[in-house]
């Protein structure tokens, strides 16, 4: 009765205790690395404040900065496209690819193409799409989606990866040594890099004042994918634009430290113009973002730099895994982005939060993630998406609590089930699964107070 899709999926995830606990501890380890890194910068909290302000400023002046960016990019010889939604984005990509007769495309991870379902669209049209990010590559071979935005295959054990590679890349049987597997993936990718006709990357930051885009990776695959073929297509959500290099310096200091606990990503690649004789395209995508701009309560979610820190700290995400969420971005930011995308479709994720507020504290751009989730809960009823049992419980509680006499009389009973309205019994089964019910004291404080017992209380009576 109370279950959401998330809670059902989470329960399933919990069935494999060993794997669930490994998931929890591995991500916690990253959170701890993030803590150490953030504490090595005395100005950390100040940086977060500045980062928040720059983003708020940029997204509220998006028209100005996007225009500046596109003007400068075009002056550098880059071809700029605008896509209002996922379909337009995919069509533009395909259009460019078919003009160049591209048979094979090498991609470096972009959550935006995931959002637009680009891969199946292109594969359908006969284009060979190769993910070059190791995690993404593993998932592509496995035909599954990312479960984390920075560590997309974090839910898989190295044994599982070993078995997958055995089958797909013909690696040694039973060898799941990470270095060995990484080398095997690299070797197979090398051939793809050499034979690809085009490279595609996401965009971490688009610098308005210079018209350049910045891509942060740890594997150098964005460089590999773009330096061999003559065609580079970069795709970005329109909120990725920031004013200038000074702003960029704030984010590059925050991003890697928040994401993986490194001081900086291994490769921070700046792409400003096409290589000699080549072409560079940037596709700026709206796909619902301009609507968020007009939403005062949630506009801050456009600040997100996709570091994943909120997932690593989230006690619920760590114990339920990325696939328990129905939106393709999981965790605190995913709950919010999903609701912004389609509140009816993604409402089940809203239960995945204990309102501990830790995400608010780690977010490098200070998005008030937990407050926003709380606000979403307030809206469920008007969306017609509220759980009827929760509604009954709340109504029952309101009735009881606004009638103190009834409340105080009901206290005379000895167990919670008699105390709370019957509707509360909906929750009792769930509570009792792993917890004993709290027992009533022999006498409530109110009753003792009324009898004057409290005022005469002496030492040792407690």
């Amino acid at each position: 009765m109370m279950s959401t899709q998330h809670s059902i999926a989470a329960e399933k995830f919990q069935e494999d205790k060993k794997q669930a606990s490994w998931h929890n501890e591995t991500l916690w380890f990253v959170r701890e690395k993030r803590d150490r890194m953030s504490k090595s910068l005395p100005e950390w909290e100040e940086l977060r404040t500045i980062a928040e302000k720059i983003k708020l400023h940029s997204v509220s002046n998006l028209d100005i900065y996007l225009e500046e960016f596109s003007k400068n990019a075009e002056a550098n010889g880059v071809i700029v496209h605008w896509a209002k939604d996922a379909k337009e984005h995919n069509d533009i990509v395909y259009d460019i690819l078919s003009k160049h007769k591209v048979k094979k495309l090498v991609k470096s991870k972009s959550m935006l193409t995931e959002e637009c379902h680009l891969n199946p669209y292109l594969i359908d049209k006969g284009i060979d799409v190769i993910e070059s990010d190791l995690g993404e590559r593993i998932l592509q071979l496995n035909h599954t989606a990312p479960s984390h935005i920075v560590m997309p295959a974090i839910h898989m054990t190295r044994q599982e990866v070993g078995e997958l590679f055995e089958e797909k890349l013909h690696t040694e049987k039973g060898n799941s040594d990470p270095t060995y597997l990484t080398r095997a993936a690299r070797a197979s990718l090398r051939n793809d890099f050499l034979t690809a006709d085009a490279g595609m990357t996401g965009v971490n930051f688009a610098v308005a004042s210079t018209g350049e885009i910045v891509v942060c990776t740890n594997e150098g695959n964005a460089d590999m994918g773009t330096s061999l073929p003559d065609l580079h297509i970069a795709v970005m959500g329109m909120e990725k634009v920031i004013p200038d290099h000074e702003a960029l310096s704030v984010y590059t200091r925050l991003l890697a430290r928040s994401a993986t606990g490194q001081p900086v990503t291994t490769y921070t690649s700046h792409f400003k113009k096409p290589k000699k004789g080549g072409e560079m395209h940037v596709i700026i995508v709206d796909n619902g973002r301009s609507e968020i701009l007009t939403n005062n309560e949630h506009i801050k979610s456009l600040n997100c730099i996709r570091c994943g820190a909120c997932m690593n700290t989230c006690p619920v995400y760590r114990r339920s895994g990325g696939y328990s969420y129905t939106y393709f971005i999981p965790g605190p930011i995913g709950i919010n982005l999903g609701m912004l995308k389609d509140p009816h479709k993604y409402t089940d994720n809203v239960s995945a939060c204990s309102l501990c507020y830790s995400c608010n504290n780690v977010c490098p751009v200070k998005i008030d993630l937990a407050d926003q989730i709380y606000e979403w809960r307030q809206n469920l009823d008007s969306l017609g998406a509220a759980s009827s049992s929760k509604k009954m419980i709340s109504l029952g509680m309101q009735f009881l609590f606004t009638h103190p006499t009834l409340f105080n009389t009901s206290l005379k009973f000895t167990s919670l089930i008699n105390w709370v309205p019957r509707s509360m019994a909906f929750g009792l089964k769930e509570w009792e699964e792993g917890r004993s019910l709290p027992k009533f004291a022999k006498e409530s404080f109110t009753s003792m107070w009324k009898k004057g017992k409290i005022k005469t209380i002496k030492k040792d009576e407690q």
Binding site: M2, S3, T4, S7, A10, E11, Q14, N24, S38, K39, E45, P315, V316, R319, S351, A352, C353, S354, L355, C356, Y357, S358, N360, N361, V362, Y374, R377, Q378, N379, S387, K390, K391, L395, M397, Q398, L400, F401, T402, P404, F407, L411, W419, G427, E430, W431, E433, G434, R435, S436, P438, A441, S444, F445, T446, M448, W449, K450, I457, K459, Q462
Partner: protein, 246 residues
């Protein structure tokens, strides 16, 4: 100084000893403490479940009940946080002001910041593991949250330091949520229980006899798991330790 004692509904009925300890502590410092007997619940459970509007009549009642006091003090960080942060928003929608929100305090915060107490009688010869409740920590700022790069402090630890004999230790993953979260605990039982078990395990690993903290709701959740699974640790609200010699 007139103090209105705010005892959240479940403390009133399940943990009256916490309410008594709070009363003892406040009166020990010579304060004029009164308890409005018609109080019930602040409305937080409904609001966290997504029915903030159901808390409106409760917020109104709460306001009129406590408006004459100089301070409103309660032994539950999460309920205090709700009155402080959410009442103004809920009442504003009705065009009303929330008078009490600016004078409501968690009892630890009150003893530490307002009364600035530096002495307490009594001994508590036990090892206790400190439980930072999320709302106390991140909403009321009773201590420095581990995620932030700010000087470390803990008002609750400072207060426990006044009691002779008590040894305070802290668990691994010091600020991790215990998994209660009001309705979260029944809506997401698998994760909630797992969070509770993990948290208790970390508390037990400190070698402490008690888990103590400023919020009875976390203690109730963990207490439920401890009892069901017969785990070797007990829970005790921090005011019970602070009032040990009164």
């Amino acid at each position: 100084m007139k103090i209105g004692l705010f005892i959240p509904c479940y403390v009133n009925t399940v943990y009256p000893e916490v309410a008594i300890a709070s009363y003892k502590l406040l009166t020990h410092f010579g304060l004029d403490v009164d308890y409005p007997v018609d109080q019930t619940c602040c409305g937080q459970p409904m609001a966290n479940a997504g029915f903030e509007n159901k808390a409106l009549p409760l917020a109104n009642r709460f306001n009129s009940m406590f408006e004459t006091f100089d301070y409103v003090v309660a032994p539950s960080g999460s309920c205090v946080g709700f009155v402080k942060d959410s009442y103004p928003k809920i009442l504003e929608k009705e065009g009303c002001l929330s008078e009490v929100s600016s004078k409501v305090y968690d009892i630890c915060e009150f003893l530490h910041d307002i009364l600035k107490i530096n002495k307490l009688p009594g001994r508590f010869q036990h090892k206790v593991s400190l439980h930072n409740s999320c709302h106390g920590l991140r909403e009321l700022k009773l201590g420095s949250a581990s995620e932030l790069n700010i000087p470390s402090f803990s008002k609750v630890k400072d207060l426990l330091g006044l009691i002779e004999g008590v040894e305070v230790v802290e668990p691994a993953k010091i600020d991790e949520c215990c998994g209660f979260g009001g309705m979260f605990s029944i809506e997401e039982p698998a994760v909630s229980i797992c969070m509770g078990q993990d948290k208790i395990k970390n508390h037990i690993n400190t070698g402490a006899e008690f888990i103590t903290g400023p919020d009875s709701s976390c203690l109730m959740h963990m207490g439920g798991i401890i009892e069901k699974q017969n785990l070797p640790i007990k829970t005790i609200h921090v005011v019970q330790i602070l009032s040990a010699g009164l």
